[in-house]
């Protein structure tokens, strides 16, 4: 029994994946870091007085907000490194530098007295790849345990993160988080607490209890069932799409920006290298079919 459980966990974290998937996932995570570093105005957080700076624990040594020049410098170094990692130039070192710059800049942004989760999903899942092996042939689609652990572990970590979100909802509020009046009031408070992008829709959901309960129950169900993706590959695209809809909805209805979660979930859950190969094969199929002599079947069908 124990050995079976151990084997299941071992396979979930260290099972085989292809070199192509490893390289593609790391490439896309690096691109996401580059985009985040380019689009976030980190320098705008530098003109805050020291009395409003509350450094996150790993930046405890900061006595005041770093200079604008230093923040922009970190941003530039981070973007260049992340782009190099995307292009697979010195992938390990470039990825580590890009990730480290992102960690420090996101930490500075979070040093304002509130725990910010916006960047944490990408930071955590990308952290697994800091020591990822660099395959000799990055187009090799043969599954191997040497290349599987970063992808498998990042999927398991992501699943655990979503599950923890549900666990604390149930721990602190119980099932009433979904079945009670919670979501109605989330929507009704939203115009006073944030900046909804679709205030009319926010108002409508807040005043239609069945819709609000359905939305809350869907969120809780997604978070509780997310760990299924660790073992059930076929569920991954659906779960990824549902998570994207959830975070997009949060942005439109409540004005809360979880864009990096929207980007990170599909990057990690979907095998983009396989999707690319399939697309490529489908594109070539008509050419091969037309090139095949009359009376002979076209190759590579199905």
């Amino acid at each position: 029994m124990m050995s079976r459980l151990r084997a299941t966990i071992d396979d979930a974290l260290f099972g085989p994946e292809s070199a192509a998937r490893l390289a593609t996932t790391q490439r896309l995570l690096a691109a996401a870091i580059a985009i985040r570093l380019v689009l976030t105005p980190f320098a705008r957080f530098t003109d805050v007085p020291d009395d409003l700076v509350f450094p996150v624990p790993f930046l405890w040594w900061l006595e005041s907000r770093p200079s604008r020049e230093l923040v922009i410098g970190l941003q530039v170094v981070g973007v260049v490194a992340a782009l190099l990692a995307t292009a697979r130039r010195w992938p390990r070192a470039a990825f580590a530098v890009g990730w480290l710059c992102y960690l420090v800049l996101a930490g500075l942004r979070a040093s304002r007295g509130k725990v910010l989760h916006n960047d944490l999903l990408l930071l955590w899942t990308a952290a697994v790849f800091l020591f990822a092996p660099v395959p000799h042939d990055e187009r090799d689609r043969t599954p191997s345990r040497r290349y599987g652990w970063p992808v498998r572990t990042s999927i398991a970590m992501m699943a655990l993160i979503y599950w923890f979100a549900a666990y604390h909802k149930l721990r602190r509020s119980g099932p009433a988080w979904a079945w009670g009046e919670n979501m109605e009031y989330v929507m009704r408070w939203a115009p006073f607490a944030g900046e909804p992008r679709l205030p009319d829709l926010t108002h409508w959901v807040g005043n239609h209890r069945p819709v609000a309960v359905l939305a809350a129950a869907s969120i809780l169900a997604l978070e509780l069932l997310f760990p299924l993706v660790v073992w059930w590959r076929r569920a991954r695209p659906l779960v990824a799409a549902t998570a994207v809809v959830l975070h997009l909805g949060t942005w439109l209805l409540l004005g809360l920006d979880y864009s990096m979660w929207i980007v990170t979930v599909p990057i990690v859950l979907i095998d983009w290298s396989a999707a690319g190969t399939r697309l490529d094969r489908r594109r070539r199929e008509p050419e091969r079919a037309s090139a095949a002599p009359a009376g002979e079947p076209a190759l590579n069908r199905g």
Binding site: L13, F14, P16, P41, R44, F45, T46, D47, V48, D50, D51, L52, F54, V56, P57, F58, A106, G107, R112, G113, K114, V115, L116, H117, L120, L123, W124, A127, V128, F131, S144, R145, R146, W149, T153, M157, L160, I161, F164, A165, Y167, H168, R171, R172, S173, W177, G180, E181, N182, M183, Y185, V186, R188, W189, P191, F192, A193, E195, H203, G206
Partner: protein, 148 residues
Amino acid sequence: MNSVSQPDLRRDAAPRWARVWVGVLFTLLVVPGLIGFDWWPLTGWRMYSVSNRATRIDWGIEARTADGTVDVTWPDLPLGYRLAAWPIATLPEAPVSQREGMCMALLDAVRDAFPTTASIALVRDRRAIDDEDRLTVLERERIHECSG
């Protein structure tokens, strides 16, 4: 016969240091996740876990301007100041020097938005939302006031 020999099978495994790295990451993820504490980037992932109700406690800024008293909303202030409600919530237990420092820091930003501001008060509001989605302040406690 299987074309993969035993030594090859052994080589096709995650290296030992990778297992150590994964173990470290999972420990850092699971311990705060289960207990529910925050030590950024370690976190309990407790976001939005407390149920909302018709009443709630909010922390904010009341400005005394030439045109009267104004409740400052966070979007009125520059980006870096918009999360100040969270540190204000810690002020009731904070020493006077810390309250004054934070209040003066916010006064400058409020003056940029409302130039005739003479003073501000950091406040704790108990607010309610009615059936028509109108906001009412049921109770206001001024935590600290500053001018200058």
